[in-house]
Symmetry: C2
Subunit: 378 residues, 2 copies
């Protein structure tokens, strides 16, 4: 890229939709972003001027993209720890830093640490053989410690025969109890280097085939005590692990009235997309404020209810035509497209509706999303 | 620029803050922008990847920036009519088109047309000599037909001696009655090529030294009949002049209860910045929807009151330090910086507060803006 380089405030590693959605609040706050992108036309590279194409596992590529930016943050958690330490040593503040991020990279490290902290988790164990899983007990969930997402690297196992696939790959594995949950929740906080923490309302996340399909903010009919417990867990994890930026704690709400930590993400998260249109300060703005050590913004909802529905690749191939239909059908619903080609099941955007009546808000969001997914109003 | 060119949906001519603020809704809607910028580091060029540096009065520069974009729109109204016709002839739809835009470029053309349409205007006349102004009557306002903005090219004249400066330049001039107004209003509508029109609430615009300083949306205590009249005027002008995109009609509310058209702008306008944070669909989003012939979005306010205050270059030279102060002092106020160096009186950003109590909303917005302008609250 021969575009003249300006000085940057924050370098973002990874060119997916999370980096893309950081750009609007960066524009508003006058925060100048640099980007390491996988390719010239990935989601974020379309909308951030100063990007470099490169590989986030190659030190020279990282250095080239980061340039003079004092702060480095992430679209994903896949940058190797030693490279993060290298950036830190060169005077770039990685936020979150490698010692925090490892807990979002490695589920074994995460489970050990959360157990030490007394944070409620499903029963779990590291397993090296199928026999150890059998000893743990069926049915159970087997996971790779690293690299899994959106249902990949996660298996529900009922017997020894289900263990062939998990043990085929040469990966560290853990087993977890199959939690009898009534629903999934997400508790998000933003934390700045100075230790300031703000918390978003706890939301309900509805999965379909292991992928987040719909989020309702705040989680309907949530026991206030359980909600406070979920937020306290998120605050504890953010503070104890030294997270800087957004932290999402995905939780199971069990049928016997507990919350158990499922996963962690140390970046803006799909369960927080509602906040772009539904909160005073979006998760993307608070992520940037946090990594820039700026005071954090109000997490108050703008209206009683927000419903976010993902647009997963479906029948629609011409997203532009579908966009016109959806905008005409629901002039109040906010559409967010990620600049991606449609492939079956691929997240290519989301919609958010806000309002005072949950059923009505949900109906509008689902109708818009259905038009964008299948060309028909659900 | 050797960055690989992607295909674009809209080319924006001019790299100021209006083009910059089109980028967030373009990102959300998946509308790909190209840009003709005055320089590599102007406001919009910082945040739009595919820009070309060039001169909007040079046909080759326009063509280079527009590339394959089917639609061309504008950050300002300074592109010469013949060049707009050239783009149209080459198959790019200029929105607004040259026949509409001329009314925002030339105040004589505008006054003639509005008078023909029966739209209420101040009494006016074209003048070629100081004697003609004297005949019109003092005190009066003398304006250049073209090129004036933010108080430039506008003179209040009380006697023949005040006419030396206006008649020094070799410019077409008009004279207008000095309107005895109680306040200034702005009525904004968006219009799409298919003729769909949506109207924003009429706002009150408060000027300081000829520059917009503060906007209150909606205009407090506005007589509903007068508000409807202002909106009807804006709709009439948009439809009769064939405006596509945003139209702002700046109006005088006279002390005897009339509205008179002061100026027109056919683009997003300072008096509509409140809509980014205060309306369901911002003026920037509706401008893009309109020029792309997409269905227009809801113009409903998100809360009862929005107050926008401009950040004009003042005592503050370190805008980043001031930003931290302002964010800490008012965590609910939304800050928008334009990526510009601070110069005395220069618009370098704005802030918007929203809420249900006008006085409280105003206090918060003013406090944040004061911190960003002079480093002190108030």
């Amino acid at each position: 890229m021969t575009t003249p380089r300006i000085s940057h405030d924050v370098a973002v590693i990874g060119g997916g939709q999370l980096a893309r959605m950081m750009q609007p609040p960066a524009i508003a706050l006058g925060i100048r972003l640099a980007l390491l992108a996988e390719d010239d036309d990935v989601s974020a590279a379309q909308v951030i001027r100063d990007y470099e194409v490169g590989d986030h596992t190659v030190a020279a590529d990282l250095r080239r993209a980061v340039g003079d930016a004092p702060v480095v943050t992430f679209d994903h958690e896949h940058v190797p720890t030693d490279l993060l330490r290298g950036l830190d040593a060169d005077g770039h503040a990685c936020r979150p830093g490698p010692d925090a991020l490892i807990h979002a990279q490695d589920k074994l490290v995460m489970r050990r640490r959360l157990s030490e902290l007394g944070v409620p988790c499903p029963r779990w164990a590291q397993v090296k053989t199928p026999a150890e899983v059998a000893e743990f007990g069926f049915p159970a969930i087997v996971k790779t410690a690293r690299g899994g997402y959106d249902g990949k690297g996660v298996w529900k196992v009922d017997s020894l025969t289900d263990l062939t696939e998990p043990f085929e790959a040469d990966a560290d594995l853990l087993v977890e109890e199959l939690v009898d949950f009534s629903r999934e929740l997400s508790a998000q906080v933003a934390r700045s280097p100075s230790g300031e923490i703000v918390e978003y309302p706890v939301v309900e996340s509805r999965q379909k085939d292991g992928v987040c399909a719909e989020v309702v903010a705040p989680a309907p009919n949530l026991d206030p005590t359980l909600g406070e417990k979920a937020q306290a867990i998120a605050r504890t994890i953010a503070a104890e692990l030294g997270v800087v930026g957004m932290l999402a704690v995905e939780l199971f709400e069990t049928k016997d009235g507990r919350v158990l930590v499922n996963e962690l993400a140390m970046r803006p998260h799909n369960t927080g997309h509602w906040s772009i249109d539904g909160a005073i300060t979006s998760q993307f703005e608070n992520h940037l404020r946090a990594v820039c050590d700026l005071p954090l913004g109000s997490t108050e909802p703008r209206q009683e209810w927000s419903v976010m529905v993902n647009i997963l690749g479906g029948q629609v191939t011409d997203l532009e035509a579908a966009r016109a239909l959806a905008l005409a059908a629901e002039p109040d619903v906010k559409i967010h497209l990620y600049g991606k080609a449609v492939k079956p099941g691929r997240k290519v955007g989301h919609v958010t509706a806000v309002g005072s009546e949950l059923e009505e808000v949900q109906r509008r969001a689902r109708r818009s999303a259905a038009l964008l997914t299948n060309g028909e109003p659900a």
